[in-house]
């Protein structure tokens, strides 16, 4: 096993809104090895993005990190000052957001925006920075990089913008790259290209990557390990292959079943998980998933399942994990 790049222990992040306390991340632990790609999967509001923002130290009022430790290369990020975090952001840990259009400042050229990351974190001269920007744009597969660097974001297509954002993220060779639903706003062919690019860059730069997505199909192609989140909690953790072979948590099963498979004959209807994500302010008693779970029984409605190690590297939070095996 290679060294651990990121370790999150018992993280609790809450938002104190006017309507009540939102348990966005509810006592979760996870880790990421060097050069590894971890997928975090879940519906909207399951706490994926908040987990990432907690790592970046970007939880803002009314949110608060209540408890836990975030160790990056052995250093506790939660103990760092804002100033120290500014130095880490963009340099050691980089993040790419979902919406590439709004993630770019409309009044600065793409080249300027990539260059500024270098300006923050390196002592390169402006000339060298310009050089490097063009190099980066070339690396992420943007044609005519010299010309494109002087363009404004609105002159780029969606796929190109996402490439530019990736160029920005890798500009300082970060050890950890967090991709927050990087292809949600793109169409499928472009999505494939972006992941091809990300996979290549991971190899080249040896980055650890966290891929946040709601799409299990995407995870299958680019991740080593997966974490499934539901209502602020990790409900299952597994190596990608074993997850697809034998999902343990009923929620994971539901997710896998709702993927369209061409090779299997469909019975005329698409599968979907009944019900909806619970209100994070007023979580149900017992297991969070119990109101939607077809296997739930009395115990599930009363007892809160803990994330338990089922097999080496395999965790699941379900009381009936052994009963429901088909």
């Amino acid at each position: 096993m290679s060294a651990m790049l990121l370790q999150i222990n018992d993280l609790i992040t809450r938002f104190y809104t006017e309507d009540g306390v939102v348990n966005a991340v509810d006592d979760n632990s996870l880790y990421l090895n060097e050069r590894e790609t971890l997928g975090i999967v879940g519906e909207s509001g399951s706490g994926k993005t908040v987990t990432a923002l907690s790592v970046m130290g970007l939880i803002e009022n009314p949110g608060r990190i209540e408890h836990g430790k975030i160790l990056f290369k052995g250093q506790d990020l939660l103990g760092k000052s804002e100033k120290q975090m500014q130095e880490i952001r963009g340099k050691d840990i980089a993040m790419v957001f979902q919406d590439s259009l709004s993630s770019l400042n409309p009044t600065l050229t793409v080249g300027e925006q990539i260059g500024r990351v270098l300006r923050f974190h390196t002592k390169l001269s402006s000339k060298r920075i310009q050089h490097r920007v063009v190099e980066l744009l070339k690396q992420v597969g943007i044609p005519e990089p010299e010309k494109r660097a002087t363009n404004y974001p609105h002159e780029f297509s969606g796929g190109m913008r996402q490439r530019a954002l990736i160029a920005m993220a890798i500009s300082c060779n970060p050890a950890l790259l967090i991709l927050d639903e990087p292809t949600t706003a793109l169409d499928v062919t472009i999505e494939a290209q972006i992941f091809e690019l990300v996979n290549r860059l991971k190899e080249e730069f040896g980055m650890g990557t966290i891929l946040i997505t709601h799409d299990l199909a995407v995870v299958a192609n680019s991740c080593n390990r997966v974490i499934i989140m539901y209502a602020g909690r990790i409900v299952e953790e597994a190596l990608v292959d074993s997850l697809y072979e034998r999902p343990l948590h009923p929620y994971t099963r539901g997710l896998l079943n709702s993927i369209l498979r061409l090779e299997e004959e469909t019975q005329g209807t698409l599968f979907s998980i009944p019900g909806e994500v619970p209100d994070l302010i007023d979580l149900p008693d017992g297991c969070n998933f119990s109101p939607r779970c077809r296997y739930a029984n009395e115990r599930c409605w009363q007892l809160d399942p803990q994330l338990e190690e089922i097999a080496p590297g395999r965790r699941a939070a379900c009381l009936r994990v052994n009963d429901i095996d088909e």
Binding site: M95, S102, P106, V117, Y152, S157, T189
Partner: protein, 327 residues
């Protein structure tokens, strides 16, 4: 096979990505010129700037000169009439025998100087206050600034300006070692009454911009708070502020003319459109229509010009809107 398809898609994407390259200014102009009314507004504004600032070239006549033959007669002459020494009054003369065209042109010049100066000061003051309030949202500083703004805004502008001018008195004002000329004093007073509007708007725009993803993205890239507000957010807050500035130019023109009209602004014999209107009042029903019409039309056109320009700017200055059109 798949590779070929991928390549084709990539090509397609590249082609789509090749929108015509335009700088932000060109982009703005491209959008602006499509709106004919705003072009008209722009032309009017430019025209009046030319009229005002080239006044010495456009009329050889001194705006305060009283033509000899008419002294004491108190009788305005209609347009195209001549004074006894042969001076042609293109737009007539006033009750002191002065050339109305010359006075209107020089008056336009002072009016525009005043309005531009006042708005510039109000802009700097207001934008600074608003940016500070927005950035420190929820703090005591924010409260302090915004409550002061509320108090200022609860007075009608003209009333506040009259009160301030009344407090300062007419003519030069001494504030410690600083001597303010009457003109600068009026500018400052108008600026004080208008800056709260800039402050309130700026605060709102800053708050809105701070929630944009690009702000989060630059935080992620390691930018500091100060840098984000000055380098990233500031430019993006400008479109609505510029629109506001242009529209407020119109009201400033009106306010400063009103002050002159009331005798609290610029003092005679300095040419001012407001003073001209005041003097013309006595002749309105005595047949001297040109006396009031000329300054009145000048003021109206300047205001119309700034209003049309402001509307046009609103439609074309927002890069996001430009993008929406392109999609």
């Amino acid at each position: 096979m798949i590779d070929a398809a991928m390549n084709r898609d990539q090509l397609e994407e590249t082609k789509l990505g090749m929108r015509p390259h335009r700088g932000l200014l060109e982009e703005f102009w491209h959008n602006f010129k499509r709106n004919k009314l705003s072009l008209v507004g722009g032309v009017i504004v430019v025209l009046f700037f030319i009229l005002g600032f080239l006044a010495p070239l456009l009329t050889p006549c001194n705006p305060v000169k009283q033509f000899d033959a008419l002294r004491g007669e108190h009788n305005p002459l209609p347009p195209l009439s001549r004074s006894k020494e042969g001076h042609l009054f293109l737009l007539g003369s006033d009750k002191f025998g002065r050339d109305i065209l010359a006075r209107a042109l020089y008056g336009t010049r002072t009016l525009l100087e005043l309005a531009v100066g006042a708005i510039a000061i109000a802009f700097v003051l207001g934008v600074f206050m608003g940016a500070v309030a927005g950035y420190t949202k929820g703090s005591w500083l924010d409260e302090l600034i915004m409550r002061a703004v509320d108090i200022m805004l609860s007075f009608p502008t003209l009333v506040l300006a009259i009160a301030l001018l009344g407090a300062f008195g007419i003519g030069k004002t001494h504030i410690g070692p600083i001597v303010l000329s009457n003109m600068v004093k009026i500018m400052v007073v108008i600026a004080i009454t208008y800056s709260p509007r800039f402050a309130r708007l700026m605060r709102g725009v800053v708050l809105q911009e701070m929630t944009e993803d690009y702000v989060a993205a630059s935080k992620v890239a390691g930018a500091s708070g100060g840098r984000i507000i000055t380098r990233e957010v500031f430019v993006n807050t400008m479109p609505p502020i510029m629109v506001q500035a242009s529209l407020m130019m119109a009201t400033t023109v009106l306010t400063s003319s009103s002050l002159s009209f009331l005798g609290l602004g610029l003092q005679p014999p300095r040419p001012s459109l407001g003073i001209m209107l005041n003097e013309a009042r006595d002749f309105l029903f005595l047949g001297a229509w040109w006396y009031a019409i000329v300054p009145g039309v000048f003021i109206s056109l300047v205001i119309l010009g700034f209003n049309l320009l402001g509307d046009g700017l609103r439609d074309s200055l927002d890069p996001r809107q430009a993008r929406r059109v392109q999609r």
